[in-house]
Structure formats: C-alpha cells, structure tokens
C-alpha cells in the first residue's frame, strides 16, 4: 500500500513539468517564443529522467531498497515521453511537419542526427518495457536495455553541440552521466574498484 502511494506520487511528480508547459503553451504564458522554452524544458527533463533512471541500480546497491527497482521502468518511460514531446515540438515549430525538411536536417545537422539517434535508441526500450517482453526476451532483455548507455551519451552530446557561448550547463549533465556510467565500469571490471 505504502509502495503504491509512493509510486503514484512519483508518477504525478514526473507529470508536473509537462502540465506546467501545457498550461503555458495554451494560455500564452511561455513568452513570445514558446518553441524555445518547450524545446529546452522537455530536452532537459528527458535528460534528467534518463540520469535518474541510471541512478536506480547504484542506489539499490548502496541502500538495498528494492522499491527503487520498481520505479525504474516508470522513470525510463517518462524520459522517453519527454523526448517524444521534444521531438513533436521540433516538428511543429521548426519543421512545419514536413518530412522532407526533417530528412534534410537529419542529413545536414549532426546535433539533430545525434538527438534523433538518442530518441531512436530509447524507442525499442519503451516498447519492450513491459513484464511480458521482459519474460519473452529473457537474458536478451537486459542486453537490449543497455542501449540506455549510448542514448545518455548521445543526449549529452546533443546538448553540448548546441551551446553557443556557455557550455556550463552541458558540462553539469556530462559530469553526472559520466559518473553514473563510470560506476558501471567499476562493476564490469572489478579490478578498477581496487585501484
């Protein structure tokens, strides 16, 4: 019962940024250039949730809490959800829903290619996130879901590539993601841990 409440609470909490953006977009509260605000916010929330998803395993190991494992799927799906809103905003404000302009942008602009690649890596993870798929894929499920690592790296690169003069913010995310991935390297190569 308590677990259920915590999960419901976190579910609603993750929805707050979207609700705030939606309200702003509908009422005009996002200022003269809502595209810019929505792109920035959804991109950052996607990355934040991706980092939180990556935090689940280390957190369980340190604390022994089993509850966090059951939050992982929700956090991951929310990261994908914000990435989808991010992509839809791009299509609406920047591409005018033109497929040919999308292809052109993908071909010509590496930061868009990289961002799109990150979204594409998350897509199969979202689709196979159910218990049913987990059972069907067995050991391969875990292998498949390691795609979150390159997705997080690409998402950081996507952010860094867009900085115009100040890379401070991108660096914060890079350090966090590097730490979360670095922790996994230690467990893959236990020799590193002793060093």
């Amino acid at each position: 019962m308590r677990d259920k409440l915590i999960r419901l609470g976190i579910f609603l909490l993750c929805l707050v940024p979207f609700a705030v953006l939606l309200k702003g977009a509908v009422t005009g509260g996002l200022g003269p250039d809502p595209a810019k605000t929505i792109m920035l916010e959804t991109g950052e929330w996607s990355l934040r949730l991706l980092a939180l998803t990556l935090l689940v395993s280390p957190l369980r190991q340190w604390t022994g809490w089993s509850l966090v494992m059951r939050l992982r799927r929700m956090l991951g799906l929310y990261a994908f959800f914000y990435a989808c809103v991010h992509l839809a905003t791009f299509a609406h404000f920047y591409l005018g829903w033109s497929g040919s302009i999308l292809l052109e942008e993908l071909a010509e602009r590496p930061y868009i290619t990289v961002g799109f690649a990150a979204w594409s890596l998350l897509l199969p993870l979202a689709l196979t996130s159910t218990r049913g798929w987990q059972r069907r894929l067995r050991r391969n499920w875990q292998r498949l879901h390691r795609l979150i690592y390159p997705a997080a790296v690409l998402a950081c690169l996507h952010l860094l590539w867009q900085a115009r003069s100040d890379i401070g913010e991108a660096l914060v995310y890079i350090v966090i993601v590097a730490a979360l991935l670095g922790w996994r390297l230690r467990t893959f190569w236990p020799g590193l841990a002793k060093a």
């Binding site: 003269p32 250039d33 810019k36 010509e108 003069s165 100040d166």
Partner: protein
Amino acid sequence: ELAAAAGPEAFQTDEKLTPYGDVSGYNNFYEFGTDKSDPARNAHTMTTDPWSVEVGGLVNKPGKLYLEDILGSFDLEERTYRLRCVEAWSMVIPWVGFPLADLLQRFEPGSDAKFVEFRTLYRPDEMSGTRSLTSIIDWPYREGLRLDEAMHPLTLLAVGLYGKTLPNQNGAPLRLVVPWKYGFKSIKSIVSINLVDRQPATSWQTLAPREYGFYSNVNPEVDHPRWSQRYERRLPSTLFSPNRIATRMFNGYEAQVAELYQGMDLRKYY
C-alpha cells in the same frame, strides 16, 4: 518621451509590430546572462548616465560625444525595421534614432578608413553575465562594419523604441541597428567607435569563425552550420500559430543593399 518624426517611406514596413513587452522582455545581451529573459531581469544594474562615446582612429577630428550632445544635435526619426536573429527568430520593431552616417561625417573619416569597429561597455561589476566562469566570450563585445555599410542610409543608431528611451536590455542608451544583417551585428550600449583600415576582429567571429562570418548578412541560402536559415519564427509565436515564415534575402532589404555586395561570393563571405 522621445520626439521623433516618422522616417521616409523606404524605412517603414506594414508588418505587424512585435509588442513592446516582447521586444523588451526577450533579448540576447550576454553581458547580462545567456537566457532570453536574463537581460530584462539583470540589465537594470548598468549605469547609462553619464554616458559618452569615444570616436577615433582614422578620422580627421577624433573626439568624445556625450549622450546629451547626441540627443541634442541629431534629428531623431522613427523607423520600423525587421530584426532577424541568427537563431532563426525575428521581430518587427519601431526604432527611434538617426543614421550612423550623420554621426560619422561629423568626425570626418579619413580617406584610408575602410572599416568601422564598435565596442560595447564592459563593466563587470554592473554586468553579471561577464562574470560567468563558463562563458567563453572575450569581453568587451566587439562588432564591425565595412565603411560603405556603415554609411548606408538604412544603418541606424537607435536611442529608443516605441517612442520611448531604449530599455537597458535593448542596448541603452545607444545601439546600432543594421536591419539586413543578423541581430548580433547590431551592437548594443556602444562606448567606442573606431575607424580602421583593416577588417576588425569581432566577438562572434573570433569565437566561432565557421559559424559567424564578418558580414553575417541575412541569407536563406547559406545555413548556419548547426541549423537552417531558410525559415524563421516571427515573434510572438504561439502553439496555435507558430508563425513560421520564409526568411528573405538580406531580410527583405535586397533592393536597398544588394549593390553593396556586387560580385562577392556570399557563400564565402557569409
């Protein structure tokens, strides 16, 4: 607040004006932060009175102009220009100002002067953005024009917008407006104007020469390496009407300025 006659027809447009609140609330003025809302929040710390502009270099009569002299000795006119940012958004703004040529002529440019170099105020204790440790701009902000661009009748020194004195975040008390070039060429809060014989180094060009050329004329055919310049969002843009419009050559001022670039490869001199 500012008395100004309507400028000639050639310097107007019928397009819908961007509301005052958006013009003064959505700015790029990195001296006060990189977020669009930072300048409106932080620029009040800049002292704009007293203010003077140093005019020097290859001129016969170098000197210093105080803001009072500027306001008292040039005829102000209102001009409505399109402003196209290199980031692919745009506005339509009624400026109050006078041609830069009027000011330059007073200092008598020498025959060897070929370019004009401008500098923005640099006062770290009043400009929070210049104190950012992760910013890679080498202050003070610098911009430049070729002399014939600077003397072009479209090139304006603005002291106001919407009939009022310039808000600090829009580059008070004196800024450049070059409507056929990307917005960052229109340098804000000018403290020095220098005539030189060589193309001056400008801030964005120094920072990323592949991305920001010296000319930076608005050109839908030449993309920024990281994004397309074919379209722009005319602000205000909303979810229900994104206001995505096609970008025009020289921001729609082709008839007036194309001759400045005759015979130049605009892909090379971007």
